[in-house]
Structures are given as C-alpha cells and as structure tokens.
C-alpha cells in the first residue's frame, strides 16, 4: 500500500495494523522512518517543505513497491510519504517490508527507501534563518 499525504502518520499504528493483518505469516517486519533533522551542513533548519508531482509520485511509489515484491518474497509492503511544510523531528517517510525471513525484509525495505530517494518526484526545500534553499542530491540527503 502506498500513501502520499500532508497529514502526519503514526508509525506505531501502521506497524500494529500490519502485524494484525499478518496472521502468523511473516516472521520479520523491517521499518524505515525518515525524520526531519534540525541540522544540515551545520545550519539550523526551522522548516522543511516537501514538494511533489501529484499523480507521478503515486505511480513511482507503486512501481517501487511492485519491484520489491517481484524481487523478494514479501507478505506486506507499505510506503507513506508526507508533503508540504514540516518542522524538525516530524515524520517524513515510512517504508515497511514484512517477510517470512528477515534478510528478505531488510533487503526489500532498504531497496524501497533507496529507490524512492532517487526515483520518486519529491523535492525538499530547507528554511534557514538566512532564507530558503533547495536540497540537491549529495548535499547531505543521505
């Protein structure tokens, strides 16, 4: 399942839902949560704004999820990404992979967040005290 939303998400509630739906099938669930850091390149960030390409974003995330499910034996996958203005420590993204085996869950979760970072049309703009700046790949979007 994929979701793109301005609202916050609750990692715990999402994981608990996946666990309940799991019914004893998966033995391993790996989650990645991306949070807004308060510091980047040594500068204090007061706001982070996520722009995206409505329509294409959803397609890109569905494709990433489908690729993960082709490549690994997964019982469930989830990608949630927020858009709009965020403040430090806010949730940005949640990626979950569940599998019968933990190595598959780790590989799939890492693949999904890595691929999202290079292939899904999201752009981050930081607000510093001095003004705004767009993040470019490499300037610490790791």
């Amino acid at each position: 399942m994929i979701r793109v939303q301005a609202d916050d998400f609750n990692t715990g509630a999402e994981l608990e839902r996946l666990r309940r739906e799991n019914n004893g099938q998966a033995g391993a669930m790996v989650s990645f949560t991306g949070l807004v850091r308060d510091l980047n390149e040594g500068d204090n960030i007061t706001q982070l704004t996520l722009e995206h390409y409505p329509g294409m974003t959803e397609k890109a995330l569905k494709k990433i999820e489908a690729q993960a499910n082709e490549q690994w034996d997964l019982t469930a996958t989830l990608i949630i990404h927020r858009v709009g203005p965020l403040t430090p420590n806010d949730n940005i993204v949640l990626v979950v992979a569940a599998s019968a085996h933990r190595k598959q869950a780790f590989r799939a979760c890492e693949f999904m967040i890595d691929t999202l970072k290079t292939n899904a049309p999201f752009w981050k703009k930081e607000t510093l005290i001095e003004g705004d700046r767009w993040i470019t790949p490499g300037n610490s979007n790791k």
Binding site: G34, E51, Y53, V93, K117, T118, P121, W123, K124
Partner: protein, 83 residues
C-alpha cells in the same frame, strides 16, 4: 494541447508551475519543445539549459530526446531529493 509542468527550483526560476499550450508547429520531440520554450527569453533559455534536469512525459521519466505528441503531459524538474 499539451500540458507543461515545472517543479521545485525550476518552477521558482521560471515563475510558473504549469501551463497548457498548443503543440507548436513542427515540434515533435523534447529537444524541439525545449528550444521553442527557450525562445521565450533569458530566464527560460538558461533555466532549461541545465543538463541535470529530468524530463517526464506522461509521468514517466524519459530520455531527453524522446518524442512527444499532442495531448502529452511534459514535466521538467531538478534531481529528486525525497525520502
């Protein structure tokens, strides 16, 4: 008509996020469309000359020499930085 979209820093440089235009006469691929748009002036010429820009046609990333037809949705944007 074709739908044009510009995102992030490119949207800010151009001062426009999206527009609908008639497919210009004689234009049938991305290089042709880009050249046509660059004739709009200095800011368009320099902004669209950035070789790091990605282009999506109908919401799929394509090579910068891809063909286009009437009805397409074409988007230019800088490298993505989500996640």
């Amino acid at each position: 008509m074709i739908q044009l979209r510009y995102f992030a820093s490119l949207r800010e440089s151009l001062g426009i996020g999206d527009e609908q235009i008639e497919l210009p006469d004689g234009v049938n691929n991305l290089p042709g469309l880009t050249r046509w748009l660059q004739r709009r002036g200095e800011s368009w010429e320099s902004a669209l000359a950035d070789t790091r820009l990605h282009i999506a046609v109908n919401q799929e990333i394509v090579k910068t020499d891809a063909a286009i037809v009437d009805g397409d949705e074409i988007a230019w944007f800088p490298p993505v930085t989500g996640g």
